[in-house]
Symmetry: C2
C-alpha cells in the first residue's frame, strides 16, 4: 500500500500557494471594481482551507517519499492545480460549466493554450490575469520538475539531464533545489524584461504583463480573441518571437551562462539543433509564402517566423489562420508541433534531444547493416548514450505516437472530423494550443467541441506535460500491487 500522507502534505503546501496566487486576480478585479473579486476571494479561501487542512492532518507523517510515491505526487499535483484553478472560471461572470473551466485551467497550467472562452476582449482583468498566471506558474513548475524530479524518475530519457552532483550524495537535493530556485529568478527576470519590451512597443501595461507571462511560459493564452493579430505590430511580433525562443531553451544553461560559462548555451547540441531547425523552417516557409502564395517578402518573413516559432515552441499564439497556407505549410507546421523545444524549458512535444538520440540510434542501425559485427556507440552532447537512455527514448517515441493515435480515434468517436481529431490530439499531447481545420484552427477556439472531447483533450495535455511515462506508469496494475 502507498502511504498517501507525505504526498498530501506537499499537495497541501501547493494548494496554499495556489490560494495565494488567486489573491492577485482578486486585487486586479478590486482595482477596476469588478464583482468577480469576490469569486477569486472565495475560491482562494476554499483552496486555502483545503490546503491547510491537508497540511495539518498530515504534518506528523515522515517527509521522505519513495519512488512510487514520487510518481503519485507528480501526477496528483498536476491534477489538483487545474481542479482548484478551475473554480474561478466556473464561478466568475463568464459562468462556465465545470468541464469547460477544468479544460481552461488544464490548458493553462500545462502551458497548452487552447481556450474555450469566447469574448476575451470583454472579460474582466481578474480572469485574464488568472489565465496568464496559471500558464506562468505551469511554466516555472515544469522547469523546476525537469531539474529536480524528472531526471530522478528516469522518465523518457530525462536521466540524461541529471546533474553530475545529484546522484547519490546527501547534498544532492539541496543543491538541485538551489539551482531550481535560481532558475526561478531568471524566469522572473525574463518575464519582467519581456513585459517592459512589450510595453515600450505599445502594448497597454496590463496586456504587456499578461502576455509576457504567457510568452515566456510558451503558453499561448492571450487577452484578445484575435490573439497577437489584435496588435498588428511587427515590433511586438518580434519581441514575442524572441521570448518564445528564450522560453524554449534549457533554463539551467542560462544559469551556467550567468555564472561565467556563457559559451555553454552555444556549445549545447540540443540548443544548436533547435535553433538550426527554427532558422531553416522559417527560411523555407518565408520562401514558400513569398514565391508560392505571393506574399510580399518582409510580410512573409514576419508571418513565417511568428507562426513557425509559435507552433514549434508550443506557444500557440496566432496572427493569422495558417491552415489556409496550403498543404506544404500545414504539413510542415504539423510536424513542428511534434518536435517541440529543448528539455528543461517550458515547451512540450517530443523535444529536440529525443530526436538527436533517435537519429543517433537509427544511424547506427543503418551502419550496422553493413558491418553486422561492428561496435558502434551513439553520442549525445559529446558523451556516449547508455543503452538505458536509448531504450527509454525509443519507448517514449513509440508511446507518444501510440497515445496520439488512441486520442485521435477517441476524439473521432465524439463526432469530430478526422482533421480536427488528428490535429487536436497532436496539439493537446504536444501542449501547442490550436489545431487545424475550421473548428479548432488558429482562427477559432475549442468552445464548440463536445464535452467528452474536452475531457479527452485535457487528459492528453496532462499526459504530454508529464512526459507520458509519469501518467502511464500509474495505469499499470502492477503499480498498485505490492
Amino acid at each position: 500500500m502507498i502511504d498517501f500522507r507525505p504526498i498530501l502534505f506537499i499537495v497541501g503546501i501547493l494548494l496554499s500557494t495556489l490560494a495565494l496566487a488567486m489573491t492577485l486576480p482578486a486585487l486586479a478585479d478590486l482595482v477596476v471594481d469588478h464583482p468577480d473579486w469576490r469569486v477569486f476571494a472565495s475560491a482562494a479561501a476554499l483552496t486555502l482551507f483545503i490546503g491547510v487542512a491537508l497540511i495539518l492532518s498530515t504534518r506528523s507523517a515522515t517527509r521522505r517519499i519513495n519512488l512510487r510515491q514520487a510518481f503519485v505526487l507528480t501526477a496528483l499535483c498536476w491534477l489538483v492545480i487545474p481542479t482548484f484553478g478551475a473554480l474561478p472560471f466556473a464561478f466568475s461572470a463568464l459562468n462556465m460549466h465545470y468541464p469547460d473551466a477544468f479544460f481552461e485551467a488544464m490548458s493553462g497550467v500545462t502551458t497548452t493554450g487552447s481556450t474555450v472562452i469566447v469574448g476575451l476582449d470583454q472579460a474582466a482583468p481578474g480572469i485574464l490575469l488568472w489565465r496568464a498566471l496559471l500558464q506562468w506558474l505551469g511554466g516555472i513548475g515544469i522547469i523546476a520538475m525537469a531539474i529536480t524530479v524528472l531526471p530522478l524518475l528516469q522518465v523518457g530519457g530525462m536521466q540524461l539531464f541529471r546533474m553530475e552532483s545529484s546522484d547519490k550524495s546527501e547534498k544532492a537535493m539541496p543543491r538541485t533545489a538551489q539551482i531550481a530556485g535560481w532558475t526561478g529568478v531568471i524566469y522572473l527576470g525574463l518575464t519582467l524584461l519581456c513585459a517592459t519590451l512589450y510595453w515600450t512597443a505599445g502594448m497597454g501595461g496590463f496586456d504587456a504583463v499578461a502576455h509576457a507571462m504567457t510568452t515566456i511560459a510558451t503558453g499561448g493564452f492571450s487577452t484578445h480573441d484575435t490573439s497577437f493579430g489584435f496588435f498588428g505590430s511587427a515590433w511586438i511580433d518580434t519581441i514575442a518571437v524572441t521570448f518564445m525562443l528564450l522560453g524554449s531553451l534549457p533554463f539551467v544553461l542560462y544559469l551556467r551562462a550567468i555564472r561565467g560559462a556563457p559559451g555553454s548555451l552555444w556549445r549545447d547540441e540540443q540548443v544548436r539543433l533547435f535553433l538550426a531547425i527554427v532558422v531553416i523552417a522559417v527560411a523555407v516557409m518565408t520562401l514558400y509564402l513569398h514565391l508560392k502564395n505571393g506574399v510580399e517578402a518582409l510580410s512573409a518573413l514576419r508571418l513565417a517566423s511568428f507562426n513557425v516559432v509559435s507552433v514549434i515552441t508550443g506557444t500557440g499564439y496566432a496572427t493569422t489562420d495558417f491552415g489556409l497556407w496550403g498543404g506544404f505549410a500545414v504539413a510542415l507546421l504539423f510536424c513542428m508541433m511534434f518536435i517541440g523545444g529543448c528539455a528543461g524549458s517550458t515547451t512540450c512535444g517530443l523535444k529536440v534531444f529525443r530526436f538527436q538520440v533517435l537519429y543517433a540510434a537509427a544511424n547506427i542501425q543503418l551502419r550496422r547493416l553493413l558491418q553486422p559485427n561492428g561496435v558502434f556507440i551513439p553520442y549525445y552532447n559529446r558523451k556516449p548514450i547508455s543503452e538505458n537512455v536509448l531504450a527509454s527514448v525509443m519507448a517514449f517515441f513509440f508511446l507518444f505516437i501510440l497515445c496520439w493515435a488512441v486520442l485521435a480515434i477517441g476524439l473521432g468517436f465524439t463526432g469530430l472530423d478526422f482533421l480536427t481529431a488528428a490535429s487536436g490530439a497532436a496539439s493537446a499531447i504536444a501542449n501547442v494550443g490550436p489545431g487545424l481545420g475550421d473548428m479548432i484552427g488558429p482562427a477559432s477556439n475549442f468552445a464548440d467541441i463536445p464535452i467528452a472531447a474536452k475531457w479527452m483533450l485535457a487528459f492528453g495535455m496532462l499526459l504530454g506535460r508529464l512526459e507520458l511515462f509519469t501518467i502511464l506508469v500509474l495505469l499499470m496494475p502492477s503499480f498498485w500491487r505490492a
Copy 2:
C-alpha cells in the same frame, strides 16, 4: 568499389523472366484480337533482349555476392521491374505518359494498388492481366525475399525470422531456396482456389483470375473502376475478405502446417494478435456503423469487414467511400494502414510483430521506472528478444514515421492539400492503395495529382516495400566509400 557484374547477372535473369510473363497478356489480347498484343510482344522482346544481354555480358563473373552487393541487388531488382513493367502501359492503347506508366507499374509490383488509369471497364484484357500479374509476381517476390534475403540483411528486425538452419552452414541457401519454392507452390494453389471460388460466386472467368491474383497478393488492382463495388455480391466480398486475410499471414507457417504441424499457425503470436486486431476492429466498426450511422446490422458487418480487412492488409479494394463514415471510422482506418499484416506475407505497413516488439520494450521501460535496477527481458513468440533486434525494430519505427512526415511535406509542396498529402504518404509507404479525401480517396484514383507527386509516391512505395533500411542504406555516403 562495388563489383556490379554478379548483380547485373541476376537482374538479367529477372528481366528475362519478366519478358516471359509479358507473353501472357500478349496471348490474352491475341485471343480477343486486340491490337495491344503487339505492344506486349515488343515490350517482351525488348526486355528479353536487355535481360539476355546482361546475362551474356556478365556470365563470366563470380556468383558470390557480398552484403553490400546484396543491398544494391535488392534495390535494383525492385527498380528495374517497374521500369520495364511500365513499357506496356506506356505503349498500349491507353497511351499513358511514362511517369504515369511507371507509377502504375511500381504500384503494381509493390502490391500497393493505387491506380492512375480511368476507364478500367473498357480496357483491353491484356493490360488488365498485366496489372494483376505485376501484383501477383510482386507478392510472391516479397514473400521469397522475406524468407531468403531480408533476414540475412537484418533489416528492421527481420532477423527474427531467420530459419534456424540458415545461419552459417553451406547447406543454408539451398534449404531456404527450397522453402521459398514450396511457398511459391502454396501461393499458386491459394490463387487457383481463390479464382475458382470467385468464379463459382458469379464472377466472369477472367475477372475471377485477375482478382484472385491481386487478392492473394493483397495488391488491390481491380478490373473495374468501382473495384469490388462493381459486383455488389456479399458472397464475393466474403471470399475476398478470406483470401486477403490468408495473404496476410506468414506463408512459411502454411508450409509447416502442411508438413504436419497444423498448430504452428495458431501458436504463432503474430498471427494471433493480427487476427485479434482484425476481429476487434471489425466488431467495433460494425457497431459504429450500425449504432451511429444507422446502417442495417448485416450490411454494417459486411461493409466493416470488407473495408477494415482491405485497409489493414494493405490491399486497397473498395466497396464504398469510407472517407464519409465520420471522424472515428477514418481515424481508425488511418491507424490500420500503419499496422499492416504479418512478416513473411504479402502485406506491408509496420507489421504486427514490430508492434509486439515495441510493446514489449515500452512495457519494460515502464516497469523499469519502478525498479530502476531490475532486470527485465522482453519476449517475442516465447523467445527473448535480443538487444540487436530491439534496437533495429525501434529504429525502424522512428524511420517509418520520419519517412512518412518527409513524404507528406514533399507531397504538400507539389500542391496537394494536407489530408491528401498525409494520407497519400501513409498509403504509399504502407503499400495500401487509396488515401483519404476527394482526390485520392477510395471513391477516386491518383490520375489527377501532379507528376512530381507521382514520382514521390512511387519512391514511397519502394521505400515501404523494401522495409526502408534497404533503400536508406544506399543513401548513406559511407555505403559507397571503401
